[in-house]
């Protein structure tokens, strides 16, 4: 709404950047883009998929008090074919990981992933366990990380709003376009096999590489 109001207000000042953007894409495309991302961001349907403790808070977020329906995400689909959003809500164990990745592969694009809670992000408190995956982002790309153990339902809603913000920033063409609008990017992730001691392979190097730790002072 505010964007539209800004655009229609009389003293229109276009920055050079916007001018360049307009020149490249045209008014039609940018309006279409706005419409597209508006539509996408306000109808994010999550997959009805709970793993552990955080799933209870996810259910709580969909109940009367927090009411995720206010953001257009109350339609928890039981089938991955009808879902846009995978909320990884809980500990992903190594035994469960192939199934989670398969579910991700079965979701149609555009699809998003929220890692809800410490366990989904990094393994959390169960990180040092032999059967716990140290973060679902070892295998599938994650859009939003919500730390907390478990995050409050409001925190999940905040994460969802962040995701909507991210979707609203998408371009429909060009090099910054999201994965599903481009031909050169793979949408599916390889599913690991159960090995004798661990998953094979233990991570997907296309999605995940651990940075080296540099303990410099950040502002």
């Amino acid at each position: 709404m505010s964007d539209a109001a800004q655009n229609s207000s009389p003293p229109v000042t276009i920055t050079d950047e916007e001018r360049a953007e307009l020149r490249r894409q045209g008014i039609l495309l940018t309006s279409l883009q706005e419409l597209y991302t508006w539509g996408c961001s306000n109808s994010v349907w999550p997959l009805n998929f709970g793993l552990a403790c955080c799933a209870i808070e996810m259910i709580a977020a969909s109940m009367a008090r927090f009411d995720i329906a206010r953001f257009g995400s109350e339609v928890f689909r039981p089938s991955p074919r009808q879902a846009d959003l995978l909320i990884v809500s809980g500990t992903v164990t190594k035994k469960m990981a192939p199934q989670v990745i398969r579910l991700w592969n079965q979701m149609p694009e555009p699809k998003y992933c929220i890692a809800m809670g410490a366990c989904a992000i990094s393994g959390g408190p169960f990180k040092q366990g032999y059967n716990v995956l140290k973060g679902i982002d070892r295998f599938i790309p994650v859009d939003i990380y919500i730390p907390g153990c478990p995050p409050r339902p409001e925190a999940l809603l905040h994460g969802l709003l962040e995701l909507q913000k991210k979707i609203k920033g998408f371009k429909i063409s060009g090099p910054n376009a999201p994965r599903h609008l481009r031909d050169d990017q793979e949408c599916n992730c390889p599913v690991p096999e159960f090995g004798e001691h661990d998953l094979q392979p233990p991570q997907n190097p296309k999605v995940w590489t651990a940075p080296t730790i540099v303990r410099s002072e950040k502002a």
Partner: protein
């Protein structure tokens, strides 16, 4: 309820020649247990279940414990007579022996009918590698079914007579027994920003230098006494 000793004596009277001994628990709980030999274990379990004064009809908890081989240094004081004829000296002699390791299965039995318990049974394997079989008590108490499977999965104890002995928590192709004390986890310590202790040791393999030394100097705002590190 009878004490562990009384139960043992009654069992010995009923099953002459059975290996039954009381394992005392030195802790505050004082829940003593009965260590059973393999030969009579199932018969004894059935007896305990059906015995009129005990009637331990509920097997509440089944668990494994791993006791790896342990080196025990024993110091014994020996009096050595002084060859010079003086008073005898007390000399400490150290002897080292290896206590063989074993796996132990513990059963906690209660009686719902008489509301007493626990009577604790223990079964031990011969060692931790090849003699890891104990008799299964699942035919006596159905409650042991999944729990014995769990002990098999996590400790590698084989239960003889179990109807469906498969891995229960880990996947079928998994090879290790992760609850054993000497289990080595798969190495996935690529990102350990806050390591210490055992985790630091494992994370070190993934960093060219130990993380502690790789730290960029902290540009600490200088406190009153000048705390800036070089």
């Amino acid at each position: 309820m009878e004490t562990a000793e009384q139960i043992r004596d009654r069992l010995l009277a009923r099953f002459p020649g059975a290996e039954i001994s009381v394992v005392t628990n030195p802790g505050a709980a004082a829940q003593h247990s009965l260590l059973l030999g393999h030969a009579h274990a199932r018969a004894i379990a059935e007896f305990l279940r059906d015995d009129a004064p005990l009637k331990l009809d509920q097997c509440s908890n089944v668990t494994g414990i791993d006791w790896p081989e342990k080196k025990i240094v024993e110091t014994t004081k020996v009096t050595v007579p002084d060859p010079a004829g003086g008073p005898a000296k007390v000399v400490e002699q150290k002897s080292e022996r290896v206590q063989p390791g074993y796996l132990e299965v513990v059963y906690h039995l209660y009686s719902i009918a008489f509301r007493h318990g626990p009577v604790i049974l223990r079964l031990r394997t011969g060692n931790r590698t090849d003699q890891v079989t104990v008799p299964s008590l699942t035919p006596v108490w159905r409650a042991c079914e999944f729990q014995e499977r769990e002990v098999f999965d996590l400790y590698g104890v084989k239960f003889e007579g179990h109807p469906d002995l498969r891995r229960i928590l880990m996947w079928d192709t998994f090879k290790d027994h992760p609850m054993r004390k000497d289990y080595v986890e798969p190495d996935d310590y690529e990102w350990e920003p806050t390591p210490h202790g055992a985790v630091l040791e494992k994370a070190k393999a993934h960093y060219p230098t130990p993380p502690a030394a790789a730290i960029a100097p902290a540009a600490a705002p200088t406190p009153a006494t000048g705390g800036a590190k070089s």
